[in-house]
């Protein structure tokens, strides 16, 4: 315990120092040095994270009769707000944060390594801003780690904003490209908009409960959250209990980061950033922050706001099918993956939405976090694989690819493993986590189950469409300008590593070597479950059907895809256009907010308010202009006025 407490600050300090060092002195270093330094230091950070997490799970010191205890490794005062509300910066270690530490450090380390190869230009030199890239990568790792170990909701908000800004900086990495700048702005503003609700939610929650701390907020006692007492339950606003409103607003914050409909529009555009950044931030870690947030406050949702949880399930279900449909029609491989990410995160949200609390009731919770884990691994793998492909063919478009399986064998095999995992084919990890989500959904929410079941098939279809278009299908129309070839070991090692994780974690689960339910559950108590073959077999069936359809359409270059499209002309067009949500947003921001609010206000300010001030000055000026005639200097005139005045007074006197 003490040893862990001594190590704990380094989890934050090392990446932060790296950010400062690379940010301030990076331009004095060679590109390679900066990359190696960043990777090495993050390697150390990962080792510490692993050490803490493994120690926590397996040393037995933190377990009490099958229940994991939450401990605060450190917790220092940062800002005192009111007498009761105080922001701390601390390290909360419990199963949830330990899992997240593993996820983040693994993916981030792989991305650090991968980037050394990916950011290299084709002539072997690096892009000018490599130090900047590693600096921001360190900043991101710092912020993301700080987010998951937060002891209180305000610390989480602090790091939440920091991950937002590092995401902004990474998307706009190619800042000279207008599209990248636009995407970065969009990502930041949309998530910021959601964060506003998060903030308001925090304000409400903290005002009524009098605390920011998670350990107080989530303390469960006899079927309700202890801190929420009955008077608080009676406080309502517009007919809704105030705590429900608060946690719903907090969920909206999470929905922004996790790209839930209708706040998902920023994520596909965020693919303008460098691919490693997409893999890390926009696939594996930052975008699941919303899931993490709901999981973190899960007891509050479950006991005090069950209806909100239900809404979350429906929003999740809708988002997952919505994004999956769009993914079927996209041709930019990174965008396909982006929509797939949206869909999969929504899956996790659904799992939380249908989950109960306590042991096997909380299966959805466990499944959600486990899916977060497996998804992070295989989605990062998919992105990095896509990066390797983009690096080889210099294009994001499917039309410029094809027949790459012989040319890039390692990428091909690892990509295939990831595709099988996400399609839910055993024994890969994705199958098991997805299966548990479906089991949980079947028990609690039949609609969500039906939707998710369909999405499982759809996922298999669009992933294998992607896979075949890249690795089979036939050469692109004009052939390749440069012959694509396999990437160097720096880039393929992370692929192989993550593929290994995907396979091994699946096999471990299958043979019961490391049941995930022994690591994490909604009340941190171990329980046992078995694979439910009555759900698993049909879901495998759905996956296989999806794969078969994709094989039929895309294995070789034929007229079949076009024919298939001609059956669904209208829906296909809508899916290609992403259901015109972007256009709606564009209309609202440009034509309503900008033209109908901002411009009139600016005009009003210049012409009415300022005009009034100018008018005052003008009146003063004009009236003195008029009055000055009186002071003409002509004695005769003064005499006249004098005499007339005297006469008037005399007459009045009489």
């Amino acid at each position: 315990m003490e040893q862990l407490a001594n190590l704990a600050p380094f989890v934050l300090l090392l990446p932060l120092c790296m950010f400062l060092v690379l940010g301030l002195f990076g331009n004095k270093m060679a590109h390679k040095t900066a990359g190696l330094l960043g990777t090495a230091v993050f390697g150390v950070t990962s080792v510490i994270c692993y050490y803490i997490a493994i120690n926590y799970f397996f040393s037995g010191n933190f377990q009490n009769g099958g229940t994991f205890e939450a401990v605060e490794l450190f917790n220092m005062e940062w800002l005192r707000m009111t007498d009761t509300l105080c922001i701390h910066i601390g390290f909360l270690l419990d199963p949830l944060s330990a899992i997240m530490l593993i996820v983040i450090s693994t993916v981030s380390l792989m991305v650090h390594i991968y980037s050394m190869g990916y950011m290299k230009e084709h002539d072997g030199t690096y892009d000018g801003g490599l130090q900047r890239f590693y600096a921001v990568l360190s900043l991101f790792s710092f912020a993301m780690l700080g987010l998951v170990i937060a002891t209180n909701i305000f610390q989480m908000y602090i790091f939440w904003e920091l991950v937002g800004v590092s995401s902004f900086l990474l998307i706009s990495y190619y800042y000279y490209k207008p599209s990248a700048v636009r995407a970065a702005k969009k990502a930041f503003i949309v998530t910021r908009f959601a964060d506003m609700f998060f903030l308001i939610g925090i304000l409400i929650l903290s005002y009524y409960t009098g605390t920011f701390d998670f350990d107080k907020l989530t303390l469960v006692n006899e079927g309700h959250v202890e801190i929420v007492n009955s008077t608080m339950r009676d406080i309502t606003f517009c007919g809704f209990p105030i705590i429900s409103i608060a946690v719903f607003l907090i969920f909206l914050g999470g929905a922004g980061k996790s790209a839930m409909f209708p706040l998902h529009i920023w994520l596909p555009d965020a693919m303008e950033g460098p691919t490693p950044a997409s893999a890390l931030i926009h696939a594996a870690t930052m975008v699941v922050a919303g899931v993490y947030l709901v999981a973190r406050l899960f007891p509050v949702y479950h006991f005090e706001a069950p209806h909100v949880l239900e809404i979350i399930a429906y929003i999740g279900a809708f988002t997952s099918i919505f994004a999956a449909i769009i993914a079927c029609a996209q041709t930019d491989i990174k965008r396909v993956l982006a929509f797939s990410t949206i869909s999969q995160i929504a899956y996790m949200m659904v799992a939380l939405g249908v989950s109960g609390y306590g042991e096997a009731e909380g299966l959805g919770y466990t499944a959600s976090i486990w899916h977060l884990f497996t998804h992070a691994m295989f989605k990062a793998l998919l992105f990095m694989g896509a990066g390797a492909i983009i690096h080889a063919v210099h294009s994001n478009e499917m039309d410029d690819m094809g027949n790459l399986r012989k040319r890039m064998p390692i990428t091909h095999i690892t990509f295939l493993i990831a595709c099988l995992a996400i399609a839910g084919i055993p024994p890969f990890s994705g199958f098991f986590s997805k299966d548990e989500i479906l089991v949980a959904a079947l028990e609690n929410n039949k609609i969500a189950f039906a939707v998710e079941y369909f999405v499982a098939g759809l996922t298999a279809f669009y992933m294998f469409r992607l896979y075949y278009r890249i690795f089979w299908f036939g050469e692109p129309k004009d052939g390749y300008k440069h012959e694509p070839h396999e990437q160097s070991l720096v880039m393929t090692f992370p692929l192989m590593f993550l593929a290994g994780v995907t396979v091994i974690s699946g096999i471990c689960w299958m043979f019961g070597l490391l049941p995930f339910t022994h690591l994490i559950s909604s009340d941190f108590t171990n329980y046992d479950i078995h694979t439910h073959w009555n759900v698993a077999l049909p879901s495998i069936g759905a996956g296989v059907i999806g794969i078969l359809i994709a094989t039929f359409l895309f294995l070789e270059k034929t007229g079949r895809p076009n024919k298939a499209v001609s059956y669904f002309k209208r829906p296909y067009k809508w899916a290609v256009k992403k259901f015109y949500i972007d256009e709606v947003y564009l209309y609202v921001t440009n034509n309503i907010i900008f033209k109908r609010i901002c411009q009139p206000i600016a005009w009003f300010d210049r012409h009415v308010i300022d005009g009034f001030m100018d008018l005052l000055a003008w009146i003063t000026n004009k009236s003195s202009e008029e009055i000055k005639e009186v002071q003409s200097g002509y004695v005769q005139q003064y005499a006249w006025v004098f005499i007339i005045g005297v006469i008037t007074i005399v007459i009045c006197a009489i």
Binding site: L79, F159, E161, Y175, M196, A602, D605, M613
Partner: protein, 511 residues
């Protein structure tokens, strides 16, 4: 002789020295300015240490390091100085900005000597205002700070400088006319039986408390004067704090002012407004403050959002920043009116934070303008590639402004929102949530500038060979960034110090 008077004496000595130097010898003048600026910063640091010592010894006093002597016995006008946690924060802020402003002003070539003389005059006024605890002295220093503005903008400014200078001066003078009525109103009315009228703040506050106690059970009309003079005083200071609808001097004034003057004006002078509202209007007229706050909450709430929306469509960098100041300073007054300790602490933190980051903004805008000869964001683009240091600094300033954690803006805004939310009635809640929207709108206009001016392709071929910041500019800019980051990373001590200062007034208001 008290250490506080040094804040007035050092600039005066500097003025005398510069007055004696030949105007051609710019190097010498600059070194005098720098040495003096450093000395002032040193004095403020020493004052802070002294304050902590005294505060440790007696944590309940209203003012520390007090000193006074009589100016005019008949009317009981004294030169009285003293500080509390709030003024210490303001003094530190002023010193940082005066020093960096002096360094940025190295670029002034035309009549540098006269420029610096007026610049110092402005500093005298600002420092004097923050250290005085006598209404009359305060008012004098207030006027001393305003007058040089006219000349500094009118002579060394750019664009429609005469118009802007006149507008700014007239509007602020109009404000001080209200203020004078307010001050005399307080002076003549805050006299319980058997006491002499006084200008000294803590004495007036004691008198007002006595009046309240006497009148509470007999006749409330005795304190009706507060209801006349509170609005006058609040608006008087509010004009300087850019409160809607009295803010229009700010965009024009800032746009025309030379760089360092903008820095000093937005960074420190506008804080006089917020500080005055807090120290004079609310401290001395608590009943009226409590009862009339709703009017000003509406006005300042409008300021916050209205300024932010206006900033979204401006194309001139200085206009954007001026409207952003309207929004941020609106938040200062807004938070003060929330009447509780946390929100008021947040207000003062916001003053510090806004002072630092707006000074940084104006410094950067000035430097960039000096190189590109345009402030129109549509004519610039891709500056990140050409002048990376300045661009990165601009991004940092922008992030501070939109409230990124780790920089000062976040600390201030969050303290304000948490504090403001402690008022549980619907009216306050609605306005707090209304105010919260500004964090999104701020992001919009900040990112718009960053995206247009710094990122993207290079717009103007002539901009390709401009050079990055020189050493002096870097020193000034980095100092400001360091201060912003320091407040943002370790806010605990500063916030606690301010809270101790606020405590006295928030207790009176809560009664």
């Amino acid at each position: 002789m008290n250490i506080l008077s040094l804040f007035v004496i050092i600039p005066l000595i500097m003025m005398a020295v510069i007055f004696c130097i030949n105007g051609e010898n710019k190097k010498l003048i600059r070194s005098v300015m720098t040495i003096g600026g450093v000395a002032l910063l040193a004095v403020s640091v020493i004052t802070t240490i002294e304050y902590f010592k005294e505060h440790g010894a007696d944590p309940t006093a209203a003012f520390y390091l007090q000193e006074q002597f009589m100016w005019y016995e008949r009317f009981n006008i004294r030169y009285a100085v003293g500080i509390d946690g709030v003024s210490v924060a303001m003094l530190l802020l002023s010193s940082i900005i005066v020093l960096t402003g002096a360094i940025i002003s190295y670029a002034i070539e035309n009549k540098a000597k006269e420029y610096y003389l007026w610049f110092l005059m402005l500093s005298v006024g600002v420092y004097g205002f923050f250290i005085s605890i006598d209404l009359f002295t305060m008012f004098i220093f207030y006027e001393v700070a305003l007058i040089p503005m006219y000349l500094l903008i009118g002579l060394w400014g750019s664009g429609k400088k005469e118009y802007s200078a006149m507008k700014l001066t007239l509007m602020l003078m109009g404000g001080s006319a209200f203020l004078m009525m307010g001050i005399f109103g307080i002076y003549f009315n805050s006299v319980p039986e058997g006491c002499d009228p006084t200008f000294k703040l803590d004495e007036i506050a004691a008198h007002v408390t006595m009046l309240r106690q006497n009148s509470s059970d007999v006749d409330t009309s005795l304190i009706d004067w507060e209801y006349i003079f509170f609005p006058l005083t609040f608006i008087g200071f509010g004009v300087l704090g850019a409160m809607f609808p009295f803010h229009t001097w700010s965009p024009d004034g800032h746009a025309s002012a030379p760089t360092a003057v903008s820095m000093l004006h937005a960074g420190v002078l506008m804080k006089l407004g917020g500080y005055g509202c807090f120290r004079v209007a609310m401290y001395l007229m608590p009943d009226a403050a409590n009862d009339l706050a709703w009017i000003f909450i509406i006005l300042t709430g409008i300021s916050v959002v209205y300024g932010a929306f206006s900033a979204c469509v401006q194309t001139d960098l200085k206009y954007i920043n001026a409207y952003s100041s309207v929004s941020h300073c609106g938040l200062v007054l807004f938070a003060l009116l929330m009447m509780n300790k946390t929100a008021m602490t947040g207000a003062i933190l916001q003053m510090v934070s806004h002072g630092l980051m707006t000074a940084l903004f104006f410094a950067l805008i000035g430097i960039i303008y000096g190189k590109t000869h345009t402030r129109d964001i549509r004519e610039m683009g891709g500056l990140m590639k050409i002048i990376p240091v300045l661009s990165v600094c601009y991004v940092i300033a922008g992030l501070a402004s939109l409230g990124l954690p780790g920089l000062s803006g976040f600390v201030a805004e969050m303290t304000i929102f948490v504090g403001a939310f402690q008022n549980a009635d619907t009216f306050h809640r609605v306005f707090v949530i209304f105010g919260c929207t500004s964090i999104v709108i701020t992001a919009v206009y900040i990112l718009r500038v960053v995206g247009k001016m710094l990122f993207g392709p290079i717009q103007n071929e002539h901009h390709k060979d401009i050079t990055d910041a020189n050493l002096y500019e870097k020193i000034a800019v980095f100092t400001l960034i360091a201060a912003i980051a320091a407040v943002g990373i370790r806010p605990l001590e500063l916030s606690d110090m301010i809270k101790d200062g606020v405590n006295v007034i928030s207790t009176i208001l809560a009664k």
